[in-house]
Amino acid sequence: MEITPDTSSYMIAGFVVTFVTMGIYIASLYIRNRNLLQDVETLESMQTEKPKSAKK
């Protein structure tokens, strides 16, 4: 009878890679989104300040 090999460490490595890669990607989406929202805020405030300085 053939004995099933112990390949548990490879299985764990596979699931770790899957979750870590997806986690990194989701974190990158979150960070890029946060940075862009900050950019929008900065640019919108610059835009509202611009007409005021033009009047002066």
Partner: protein
């Protein structure tokens, strides 16, 4: 500012639940494969990520065609989202395949037709971002990107079909194999885990695509604001 819709929040929650169930089915519900042992459990995620990876590359090619016809930038944003999310999933597919190959084939990597076409496909889409990075004009970037994804899209069906057309050591899961090829047979519980993983990764793919498209819309808004401020 874009506020997150309720539908997207629900989809986020559903995606997390589906991923958790799919992990449970792969790890505990499906029986242990007798020849390969526990490592065979990565196969469910390997196929799930491969499916959405190739699906995204085909969707990117279709959106490339639509962009070239309509010149509507929303299709460019859709294309970028599809390529980015699929490149991430296809990277997981390749790494999982390599991890499975080590105990199954006694090597991390071999230049088998399936592995080679998969690696070439991944490199094509990594190069897509390098191409876009090098073009400043948004319309030119979108046009070049669209043509590139249409040409690159050919690699997806080639990668899928290659194990059916050439001699290869990669097992065939879906469809009839040649007499020379190894066809993986699954028990009922394995089929449940397999089809659930396909479904779960499809939902996760849609969820991530939606998030990436929203990010693209925000990038567009920043570009427009920069133009207004600089005038």
């Amino acid at each position: 500012m874009q506020s997150k819709s309720i539908a997207l929040t629900i989809l986020d929650v559903v995606s997390i639940i589906l991923l958790a169930i799919s992990t449970y089915l792969a790890l505990f519900f499906a029986p242990t494969e007798l020849i390969m042992g526990q490592v065979q459990r990565v196969f469910y995620f390997h196929i799930g990520t491969a499916w959405v990876g190739l699906l995204g590359f085909v969707l990117a090619a279709i959106s490339g065609v639509i962009y070239l016809i309509t010149k509507d930038m929303k299709w460019d944003r859709f294309e970028v989202a599809a390529v980015e999310v699929s490149t991430m999933f296809f990277f997981i597919t390749i790494v999982l395949g390599s991890i499975w190959a080590r105990p199954a084939w006694n090597t991390w990597w071999t230049w088998d037709p399936r592995l080679t076409t998969a690696a070439v496909t991944e490199l094509i889409y990594i190069a897509y971002f390098m191409l876009r990075q090098g073009i400043d004009d948004p319309e030119k970037r979108a046009r070049f990107g669209a043509v590139y994804t249409i040409l690159g899209g050919v690699s997806a069906p080639i990668t899928f079909m290659v194990i059916r057309l050439f001699r290869t050591i990669h097992p065939v899961i879906i469809g009839a194999a040649n007499a020379n090829q190894e066809k993986m047979s699954m028990t009922g519980d394995m089929k449940v885990a397999f089809f659930f993983a396909l479904f779960a990764f499809t939902v996760i793919f849609i969820d991530l695509m939606w998030h990436r498209i929203r990010l693209g819309n925000l990038e567009e808004k920043v570009e427009q604001l920069k133009l207004k401020v600089s005038m």
